[in-house]
Structures are given as C-alpha cells and as structure tokens.
C-alpha cells in the first residue's frame, strides 16, 4: 500500500543533484513553488516543464519513476482539477448543467492547475529522492537558526525532526508487520463498509502506539546513557558544505525567475 509512494523516499545514487548541498536543495525546492506561480501562460508553463524535466534528468533517475510518483496522488489532482473546471466564476460558457458549468477560462485554469500540481510533485520528488532524510533535517536545522533570536528551540525541534525521520521506515515496517499479524488472525482490511474498516484499524493502532511508547522510553534511556543532555552545547558530526555547484544552481533558478517575469509582463 505505502510501497507505491515515491514522494518522500530516498534513492541513493551518485549524480549532480545528489551531490548538491541539502540546504541549497531545500531552499530551491521552496523557491520553485513560488517561481511556478510566475508562469501564467502557455510559454511560461512550457519553460517550467522543460526546466523540470531537465532537472529530473540530472538526478540519473528515470522519468518513469517520477511519473509513478504522481500516480498515488492522481485522485487529489483530479478532484482539484474538476473543481476548477466546473465551478469557474467567469468566462464564456461552453457547457452547462444544473450548478455545473464549464467555461473557457475555467478549462484553461484547470489545465494550469494540473500542470502546476504535476510539476510541484516532481520537484519535491527530486528533493526527497536525492537527499537523505538526515541531510534534510540538518539543512532545516541550519535554515531555522535565525529563529534562535526569538527563543525558538531550534536544536530540540531539529533533533525531534531527525528522530522522527529516522523512525518513519521503522514504524512503516512495524505497521506492516502488525497488519500482517492481524490479517493472519482474520482481520479484513480490504472489505466492508466504512465503519467496519475504521473498526479494523483498532487492532493496528493500539499495538502501534504502545510499541512507539516503549520505543521512545528505550531510546530516551539509551540517549541519556550515552551522555545526551538537553540545553548543553554540542559539536556536530555531519557538516554541510556549500560548493560552487550550489551557487550555480541558485543562479540558474534566478535566471529562470527572470525569464518567467519577462514572459509574464511582456509577451
């Protein structure tokens, strides 16, 4: 079930994007979401599309993988696209039925939303496929540092974040194991009405919570035994290094933004 999800998973490889600094990748991924809203016409989206495909080819992961990554989210995308299409407030009406009406502007917007969705998912997939969860946590810690000034517990939050990321696969495995164990005892997750299915979750959730609790206690003890003290300054083992390629990537993104702004205002 969860296995089909590509977004959020890390695929270790050696490529240009893999070698980039995690801070650059996180920043650029966020920047990308803002940049994409600068594309407001066909040409803009064409450039964004080509650019995104170029980036994915730099990761040495096949385009097919990215397309597979979009598949599990297809229902969300379809839903949004249909809402856009049927409830457009203005434009020339092409088709009308009861409260639904399709207008030319609505149709156009729907296509834009579709493209935007796909591109953003692809770019987030680039980030997670090429960056190890721990590197993302380190990058976020670094990027959150200015918040120390307003007494935000940056180190604690980033510790929680890296532990959480570390345990995502462990908990997924455990969920799978518990599900299998309960299926072997006759629980049916695939059939029945909504109430029956929700009830079938109880035998998974309770063991999962109690095990997570046990694990948290054990991890806390182990950390204390190894000398972890909260509020004490610590040195770091993994050090992020900003290379020239990261600066270059930022410049390319800047260039992209400028091109899009020119297209938006002058073409």
């Amino acid at each position: 079930m969860m296995n089909k999800l590509i977004v959020g998973r890390f695929l270790p490889k050696d490529s240009f994007v893999h070698r980039m600094d995690a801070r650059a990748k996180v920043l650029l991924s966020i920047a990308y979401i803002f940049i994409i809203f600068e594309a407001t016409n066909w040409l803009g989206y064409l450039i964004m599309g080509l650019f995104t495909i170029a980036v994915t080819s730099l990761t040495k992961v096949s385009l097919k993988t990215y397309i597979q990554g979009i598949k599990p989210l297809i229902w969300l995308i379809t839903f949004t696209v249909f809402i856009q299409m049927f409830f457009a407030p203005s434009g020339h009406v092409l088709w009308n039925y009861w409260i639904f009406k399709v207008t030319d502007i609505g149709l156009l917007n729907a296509v834009y939303v579709l493209v935007r969705f796909i591109l953003i998912i692809m770019m987030s997939t680039v980030l997670t496929l090429t960056t190890s969860p721990l590197a993302i946590a380190d990058a976020l810690e670094y990027l959150m540092k200015p918040l120390l000034k307003i007494k935000f517990p940056v180190y604690e939050v980033s510790l929680m974040l890296s532990i959480a990321l570390r345990f995502v696969p462990t908990l997924m495995d455990e969920t799978e194991r518990i599900m299998n164990a309960q299926r072997a005892r006759g629980v049916d997750f695939a059939n029945g009405g909504i109430i029956k299915r929700v009830k079938a979750l109880v035998p998974i959730l309770i063991p999962l919570f109690t095990n997570a609790m046990k694990r948290a206690i054990e991890l806390g003890d182990a950390m204390e035994a190894r000398g972890y003290q909260i509020d004490k300054p610590r040195s770091r083992y993994r050090i992020l290094v900003w290379h020239r390629r990261d600066t270059m990537a930022c410049l390319v993104f800047g260039l992209l933004l400028i091109i899009l702004i020119i297209i938006k205002h002058f073409i």
């Binding site: 296995n3 089909k4 590509i6 998973r9 695929l11 992961v61 096949s62 993988t65 597979q68 455990e174 194991r177 518990i178 299998n180 164990a181 309960q182 299926r183 072997a184 005892r185 006759g186 629980v187 049916d188 695939a190 059939n191 109880v202 035998p203 309770i206 063991p207 109690t210 095990n211």
Partner: protein
C-alpha cells in the same frame, strides 16, 4: 495435500527503482503432518515464503497450493481468507500484536473474526490459554500488565485458538530466556504430536532444528538449496561450512570424538540420545575387553 510451491517468484515493489526480488523460481513441498524447519541467512527469503503460504502476499509468478487452496498471481485478496483460516501464523515477537482489554478477549479475537460464535470462541480461547500454560487468574487482566514471556504466551494462544491445521512459527523463541525457550518448544512439539499438525519453523537455532524437525529446507539468496532430513544435513560437515551454517553442539561433540578415533553407531539428535549412544559404546568396548 500439504503445501506445494511450483516455480514461485516474488518481487517486492515491482516496477519501481526499489524493486527487490526476494524469491527466484522456488519449488518446494511440505508434506502434511511433517515438522519442517526452514533455515538460511537473514534475507534469504524465509519470511517471504511464510507470508506467501499464509496468503499475506501473492506470488508474482508461479503457483502455491495449500491443502485445497490454489494461490496464483491472479488470486484476489478476498479469496485468501480460506487459506488464513487453515494456517496459524506466529510472527516474530508476537507479543507486539496484542491490543484487547483483557487477555481472554485478545485470544478470542481470531476465532470471532473467522465467524465463530461468542461461546465457541470463549471455549477455544480458554482451551488455548490452558495449552500455553497461562494461569487462569491472569485471564481477565490487561495483556499489557503481563511480563514479556507471558505476553508471548497470550499471543501464541491467540493463534492456537484458531485451531489451525498448519502452524507456522517465525522464530517463536527469539528473545526468551533458556527456560522459556525450552517450555515453548516442548509445547509446540507436544501439539505437533497430539493434534497431527503440520509445523513449519523458521529459526536460527540449529539445536532446535536437530531436535524437533523431521524435514529441513535450506534457503540461500532467494532459492532453495537443499531439502533433506536434519541428520543428513548436519552429517555433511563440508557442505555446512560452505554455506556458513552452524552445527549443533551435540554433533560438534560427536565430530570431535570421531577425530580422536571414537566412532558412534548413529548420530544423536539431543543430549539424552548422545548419552545413550555413549553408554552403548562403553558397554560394547567393555564386553570386547572382557572377551579378550
């Protein structure tokens, strides 16, 4: 009848960059009423086989027959319930699957799911709890208040209450103390005798393989490399070394004696048998000396 795998392959997450082939063209047969040990290194595909024969996974290729049920890549999830009602599966660290408010309710959970009435389920649950030797003053307690060993017993009772014809054990004694290990393994051996079960045991404890099993399947990197009896397997010192499998202590002892010129008439499967064989040997030697 029994369990049969016919050129079964299984790939996790097929058609993704994370694809991993766990089984490659596996054919094997587990006769009814046998005690089969499935051994091999971590990652050799043992657990995948167990999940396939309980219908928790569906093969990507090939055919699996469990008693009368046929599982093929086309089999729908819905039809697998019959397989699961016949196979009782004790997972690794089964105490992690307890969730009900009382011990009794947790053990009743399985039978109720397979359509037993409340009375029948309660009767089966009590029977199973007696089998695993859990004192009845604990039956109304929360399973989370029990000790680790007791929790494991409750979990095993939850599987036994299903009255399976095929009992699948995935390292049932991992993490238990020596006494608990022995008790649990003895219990399974008795059940095997008394209820004419088919038992499939996955373990890294070669002592248990030698002592309890009458059939061994050795797996290596997703393939079956040998099917034989424990005694034949452990007699072949060279082959074991090649496949980096451990030899049970009793057999090691016999081999050491052989190196020093003392040969026994047969291979023992446990310490008692070893002692008997040694006594025989001493008697024979004594008789011979008396004759001279």
């Amino acid at each position: 009848m029994g369990i049969k795998f016919e050129s079964v392959s299984f790939t996790y997450q097929p058609q993704t960059p994370f694809a991993y082939q766990a089984l490659e063209n596996v054919s094997l047969e587990i006769p009814t009423n046998s005690y089969t040990a499935l051994i091999g290194h971590t990652g050799s595909g043992k657990s995948t086989i167990l999940q396939l024969l309980d219908g928790l996974l569906i093969p990507t290729e090939g055919l699996i027959t469990v008693n009368d049920c046929r599982i093929t890549p086309q089999t729908k999830q819905k039809t697998l319930a019959t397989v699961r009602s016949q196979v009782g599966m004790v997972f690794q660290f089964p105490e992690n699957q307890l969730f009900e408010q009382t011990v009794l309710a947790d053990v009743m959970f399985g039978p109720l799911n397979f359509g037993k009435s409340k009375e029948a389920a309660s009767r089966l649950a009590k029977e199973a709890l007696r089998l695993v030797g859990l004192p009845d003053d604990l039956w109304q307690q929360s399973p989370f208040e029990l000790s680790g060993g007791q929790m494991r017993r409750v979990a095993i009772a939850g599987v036994l209450a299903l009255e399976p014809k095929i009992l699948v054990l995935d390292e049932p004694t991992a993490g238990l103390d020596p006494k608990g290990r022995l008790e649990i393994m003895q219990m399974f051996a008795q059940l095997y005798q008394a209820k004419k079960l088919t038992v499939i045991l996955v373990t890294h404890q070669m002592e248990d393989v030698l002592r309890y099993a009458n059939n061994v399947i050795v797996m290596d990197t997703g393939k079956v490399v040998k099917t034989t009896t424990p005694l034949t397997l452990f007699a072949d010192e060279k082959w074991l070394k090649q496949h980096q499998l451990a030899t049970p202590k009793v057999i090691q002892f016999v081999q050491k004696m052989k190196q020093n010129g003392i040969e026994l008439t047969a291979l023992p499967t446990n310490v008692t048998e070893l002692a008997d064989l040694l006594m025989q040997k001493i008697k024979i030697e004594g008789d011979r000396q008396n004759d001279e």
